[in-house]
């Protein structure tokens, strides 16, 4: 998009009006996944493997089927046999099918093996006990490094794709290597080289709303699905493939979504509910409990990483190298490639090399989690950078500024950057009062940068004007964090009518064209771009109608502040015509006026942030308190600043949890030990300080208003920023997350 096409003076954009769905959400009337009911509805429940790895010898469902309250039982045979297994990520439908209902083997603790629909939730739960499954328990592995060892149990032969070098264990399913320059020569030029190893545990997205759906499917191949999802078109496409029906015959409606963070970009219970419904010929509702969410839905990958960086005494980085091994459960998909590509992306490097591994183990299938793959790599890289600064006596912000990527820098992952805002975030960090505030004894300050790519994706938007001059806007991206507000602001900006006069609806799959998932920080960017263009197409029609009324050519009319006006003195002398005057009789001046836009926008624009954190470590208990936190991030252009700040704060809070508390704990038996919120402790209100935010605005050349997505980058810097603060506060370098009290105590003890 040409730069001069970009708007920079705004009337609505950048203001902070109430969100359109606010009333629904503070009164309890907003309908989330579990809030739907249907006449004749049955309740589904899923039987799950207690074993981490086991061959399924037999499943006897006869006693369950005979129970009077049970109306259907399904196992793998009730799904499509046309879904093909392929190596790597190419056979993703097969991977999802295998994940939502086990085939020959149960691959992790919690893997679904059968499901029941019964007349009540209690009856369904009770009847699960009537299903008899005979297992042959197999050796299992849940640790990424152990899963790569020669004697590790093989999860599945043939899952490795083209990229894996010969001689690797079959559990290594994808391999990535990239970079440029000569790292060995670069290390030779350095005054100091530090090489270190780091480990992060798997964490869960931890959305408060468990997966829930209500499904109806008949033998005629027509179905309806209501579910909590980040993307109902991907749910439609995937469920149709798994059930062997046509995509267009399944209508999917997205409920209000109670958090996703990447974890609701795929399906788990939805195909199962549809299969049960088809068999029972009645609607079936399935709602996961929290333990099922932890055991069987996507945690993030766990990682084991080696990073080596060389630096001159003046802070110049001479070379950087990283090896990132990620475990993503019993399926391909751990984002080792993304970790590798993002790890060094903030820096202008002459010599860089990065390697990523995608490794399978006996854990649940990893799902995307906010900038998937990036936080782990940043933890390792930014920790080594911090240690280099400590040893060379350099200021950590100055060193990052000295090496920061800017427009024209060749990125560590290949191409040259367009206009980016990293330097601006670092300069804002340096100028922020937080960075120069005095620390109390026992406190440490850490900083870290973070990078994420952002995404465009398939997008369709439709806008229809009403006779009274109001507008309805239909978007296809579920509203996770206030996007209805930002869409209405962007439409108001183009149409020139009040924000309140625009009703934004998340349309179902039957009423709008395909939309990619609400992920990749794409909603405000891509649905926003499509909203602007749909509104512009409506404005063109409005101008045509006004021109016809005035009897002048259409190109002699322009649109200003919600009015058609003659575009110059030669166009004639007419009073501005308000939008509502044009829509009032649109039925007789050419018909209804709508605007549409469908495309896959390519220009999301990469995103950078810098975080500053103060932490205090209690040397007696090992407990860490975060005492002050500041997020600085480039938003391109903040459409609704409240919700941009909210993304920054939420990303930081999730990062704090990942850094300090959260982890998947597996027993020797391969069973998840902490599958409730009491034991998997996400940050609570009393754990956190206020989280300050600074919105930097370096416009994205790929968006008409300059928007860059902001959803994901905020979780990238916290792990390292907190680790750097804790390492200063405690006087020991922390190389493993979470930095829980026992780990910190052990590190202090080891340090003497």
């Amino acid at each position: 998009m040409a730069l001069d096409d970009r708007k920079s003076d705004f009337k609505f954009v950048g203001t902070r009006p109430d969100r359109p769905d606010g009333l629904d959400k503070v009164t309890g009337r907003a309908k989330f996944g579990a809030d739907a009911y249907a006449p004749g509805m049955l309740h589904g429940a899923i039987l799950r493997s207690p074993h981490a790895h086991a061959r399924i010898i037999s499943i006897d469902t006869s006693r369950a089927e005979a129970h009077k309250d049970v109306k259907a039982v399904v196992t793998r045979v009730d799904f499509s046999d046309k879904v093909e297994f392929k190596p790597g990520l190419e056979g993703e439908f097969w991977n999802v099918l295998e994940n939502v209902m086990a085939g020959e083997k149960a691959l992790y603790d919690g893997h679904a093996v059968a499901a029941i629909a019964a007349t009540s939730a209690l009856a369904a739960r009770d009847a699960l006990k009537l299903i008899e499954v005979e297992y042959e328990v197999l050796p299992h592995v849940t640790d990424v490094d152990k899963a790569m060892e020669p004697d590790a149990p093989v999860i599945r032969e043939g899952a490795a794709d083209y990229s894996v070098p010969e001689g690797m264990h079959p559990n290594v399913v994808r391999y990535h290597e990239s970079g440029h320059g000569d790292v060995e020569a670069g290390f030779a030029e350095a005054d100091l080289v530090i090489e270190d190893s780091f480990v992060t545990e798997a964490t869960h997205q931890g959305y408060i709303e468990p997966h829930a759906c209500l499904a109806t499917l008949g033998n005629d191949g027509k179905g309806e699905l209501w579910c909590t999802t980040q993307g109902h078109w991907i749910a439609q496409k995937t469920c149709a493939a798994l059930l062997g029906i046509e995509t267009s015959q399944l209508r999917v409606t997205a409920s209000e979504i109670g958090g996703g963070f990447g974890g609701k970009t795929t399906v788990f219970i939805e195909p199962v509910a549809l299969a049960l419904s088809r068999k029972a010929n009645r609607p079936v509702k399935i709602v996961m409990n929290r333990s099922e969410v932890f055991r069987a839905t996507g945690p993030t990958a766990s990682a084991s990483m080696d990073v080596k960086i060389g630096m001159k005494k003046d802070g110049t980085i001479t070379a950087a190298q990283g090896v990132f091994r990620l475990q993503g459960g019993a399926f391909p998909g751990a984002p080792g490639d993304m970790t590798a590509m993002c790890a060094f992306a903030p820096y202008n490097l002459t010599n860089v090399r990065q390697v990523g591994y995608d490794v399978m183990s006996n854990r649940p299938k990893q799902a995307a989690y906010r900038a998937p793959g990036a936080p782990m790599g940043a933890f390792a890289v930014e920790s080594v950078l911090d240690e280099l600064c400590n040893k060379l006596g350099l200021d950590p912000v100055d060193v990052r500024l000295k090496n920061a990527a800017h427009e024209g820098t060749k990125a560590s992952y290949g191409p040259r950057y367009e206009r980016i805002g990293l330097v601006e975030t670092l300069e804002a960090a340096k100028a922020h009062p937080h960075y120069s505030a005095p620390l109390k004894p026992g406190q440490g300050r850490g900083i870290s940068c973070g990078f994420w790519f952002n995404h465009g994706g398939e997008t369709s938007v439709s806008l229809a004007l009403s006779e009274d001059g109001s507008a309805q806007l239909m978007v296809g991206t579920p509203d996770i964090g206030g996007s209805r507000a930002s869409m209405a602001l962007m439409a108001a900006e183009v149409l020139g009518i009040p924000y309140e006069n625009i009703r934004v609806t998340v349309a179902d799959t039957a009423t709008l064209g395909y939309n990619d998932v609400s992920h990749g920080s794409r909603v405000t960017y891509a649905s926003g771009l499509a909203t602007i263009k749909a509104a512009r197409s409506a404005v063109e029609k409005l101008c045509e109608r006004a021109a016809a009324k005035w009897g002048i050519p259409a190109d002699a009319v322009k649109w200003e502040n919600g009015h058609a006006v003659p575009s110059g003195p030669n166009a004639g002398d007419f009073d501005p015509m308000p939008l509502a005057d044009i829509t009032a009789d649109m039925g007789s001046t050419g018909g209804p006026i709508s605007g549409h836009f469908e495309a896959t926008p390519e220009g999301a624009g990469v995103s950078f942030g810098t975080h500053i954190v103060d932490a205090e470590v209690d040397p007696e208990t090992g407990k860490t308190s975060v005492t002050r936190y500041t997020v600085i991030q480039d938003a391109g252009k903040a459409i609704h600043p409240d919700y941009v700040e909210g993304q920054y704060q939420g990303g930081a809070a999730q990062g704090i949890g990942w850094a300090l508390n959260e982890e998947y704990v597996y027993g020797d038996n391969g069973r998840l030990q902490n599958s409730i919120f009491l034991d998997y402790r996400i940050p609570v209100a009393s754990d956190l300080p206020m989280i300050d935010t600074v919105i930097v605005e370096v416009p994205n050349p790929g968006h008409p208003f300059g928007v860059r997505g902001v959803g994901e980058t905020g979780i990238v810097p916290p792990l390292a920023a907190i680790a750097n603060a804790v390492s200063k506060a405690a006087g020991v370098r922390m190389r493993q997350l979470p930095m829980s009290p026992p780990r910190i105590l052990a590190a202090l003890k080891e340090d003497g």
Partner: protein
Amino acid sequence: MSKFHVSTTVNGDTVEYLCDPRETLLDCLRDKLNLTGAKEGCGTGDCGACSVTVDGRLVCSCLMLGVEAEGKQIETVEGISDGDVLHPLQKNFIEHAALQCGVCTPGVLVAAKSLLEKNPNPTEEEARYWLAGNLCRCTGYDKIIRAVMDTAAELREAS
């Protein structure tokens, strides 16, 4: 298993339901009374999304049985506003953007209202500890705490 007949009061209305002795108050509110404002986030009393008050006391409705509601006074998120007039907490949660996905919001509002009834002048720390039983995964709590503190100040000024 036979069911129990329960008579109770919810948001001032007299209601009755039949429930299995294993069903929770949350199950009964949602599935029998169609009051789906309270949410089940965990079922173990850790997340607070199902917060309601019973005889004025803040409880997780997932930890209380439906049969235990007999003769009690229950208040849920659906009863917070006075007709079409929102409670100041509700108004401020919208104005402060104190919610993103909104699934924890009903529980947070019930809990915050209960706090302000007991302690009209909480410190930030007191508000944070009172709301520590209400998990929010979206906001980092910053805007929630600000909305609660501002509401407390507003209510003090008004009284």
